[in-house]
Point group: C2
Chain length 256, copies 2
């Protein structure tokens, strides 16, 4: 069944395609999300600026007719960033960064120091959401969380996690005295044997180089995920995998 | 500096490109690996059938001149499956599956029930290697571990982990009595609170549907990774992430 189109203009198509670029997202202060799950989760929290959907899309609560444009499958293919477009593409405003707020006491947060891969960043946001970590501080050189690839990899978790881009060194300077900063480092202590609090910042580093030297100096608790591989080769864990194992260890302690 | 080419023939290029197809890999019984890390790790364990490398490639032990062909950057680009080719592409024989061997006592293994995404499969092989799990049983409908995308995602771990494609139900039937079969299921028991042995099979299910019904019936220990998200939305964990958390929990117990 072909959707009857309300027409999408060439300018609209161009506008949406340009939102692939960070520069353009910053200027327009909005980002693209796609598919019923991701768009649905974001709509629970944020007011969409525009929605383009085929007739197949049946959200649990229908958006205002002023923001919804019905389009054909062919039109959706033309605006989608996905290989297999999924019923709906929406444009949302980029949430405020809450830059000056400072860390919340009694909470765990993540700090990402130069994560480059959009898939890793999206997966980390999804992991944070699973483990009830609602704030992620990102260094300025971390990938942009509103990149379409990141948005899709979060599977809707972007709706539940605050993303704050900031200078991590300034963030650490603003922390209360003895506020714990955890980091996984090659010379760290076995994470399974350490006591881990339910308050603190967990720093995860760049895919190739790990945590940068300046940030490393501010880590107060050095952790190591031990390698159980028997043999000579130097293995490594993907940063999203390391984040999952680390968050799991922290939360496990909280349940006891 | 441009490498002086020993020439790669059109037939060789065609042959390598066809190794993207499972059908062709099965017929030829070989697969492609790329980059110094992945090729180097595989060479420690398997004898390559052919290596195509630019002059930049300096392996720790140089392969036999009969298998090595020096090629130009441009030729490498023509045969590579990577967006950014990395010095070397090698063809290895697919290792024997050891189908009749049966499970080893006193060991943990993984069983994958219909994992579809090559990236997930590669990441799971890498996780298994990290946690010292040297055997992965794959259902026949799991993605092919020798797909170039999987091989690259393993980051060389394919050299350390045995991959055995088999009928999982037949595998379970061949197990000794009371051999533990663990699976993560929505109605499972909190993994952090369960006793976990260092012998058994850990089953991970398909990305969308989880563990298939027939396999689920053979799971003797049902596990759940608890969700710490506060709120109404039904979140999920990527299967590679769930594998990492599960393996981490098993190995942690072994270190105490």
């Amino acid at each position: 069944m072909q959707t009857k189109s309300e027409m999408i203009s060439k300018n609209q198509i161009k506008y949406i395609r340009q939102l692939e670029l960070k520069k353009f997202r910053k200027r327009e202060n909005c980002f693209v999300a796609e598919g019923p799950k991701v768009v649905g989760d974001l709509m629970k929290r944020y007011q969409p600026k525009a929605i383009f959907a085929t007739d197949e899309w049946h959200p649990s609560s229908m958006p205002d007719a002023t923001v919804l444009t019905r389009i054909t499958d062919d039109e959706l293919r033309r605006i989608s960033f996905l290989q297999a477009p999924q019923q709906v593409l929406a444009i949302f405003p980029i949430p405020e960064g809450m830059k000056s707020e400072g860390v919340k006491s009694g909470k765990l947060s993540l700090a990402l120091d130069g994560i480059q891969d959009p898939g890793n960043l999206g997966t980390i946001i999804r992991i944070a959401d699973w483990f009830g970590i609602d704030t992620i501080y990102c260094s300025e050189d971390t990938a942009d969380a509103y990149n379409p690839k990141v948005v899709q990899a979060t599977m809707g978790s972007l709706a539940h996690v605050h993303i704050i881009y900031c200078n991590l060194l300034q963030l650490f300077q603003s922390l209360p005295p003895s506020y714990p900063v955890y980091g996984t480092l090659l010379d760290g202590n076995d994470i399974y044997q350490q006591s881990l609090s339910q308050e603190g910042i967990i720093v995860m580093g760049n895919e190739g180089n790990g945590i940068s030297e300046a940030v490393r100096e501010r880590v107060t608790h050095r952790l190591l995920i031990p390698n159980f591989h028997q043999g000579d080769s130097a293995e490594s864990l993907n940063v999203a995998i390391a984040t999952a194992i680390t968050c799991s260890e922290f939360r496990r302690r909280g349940t006891k």
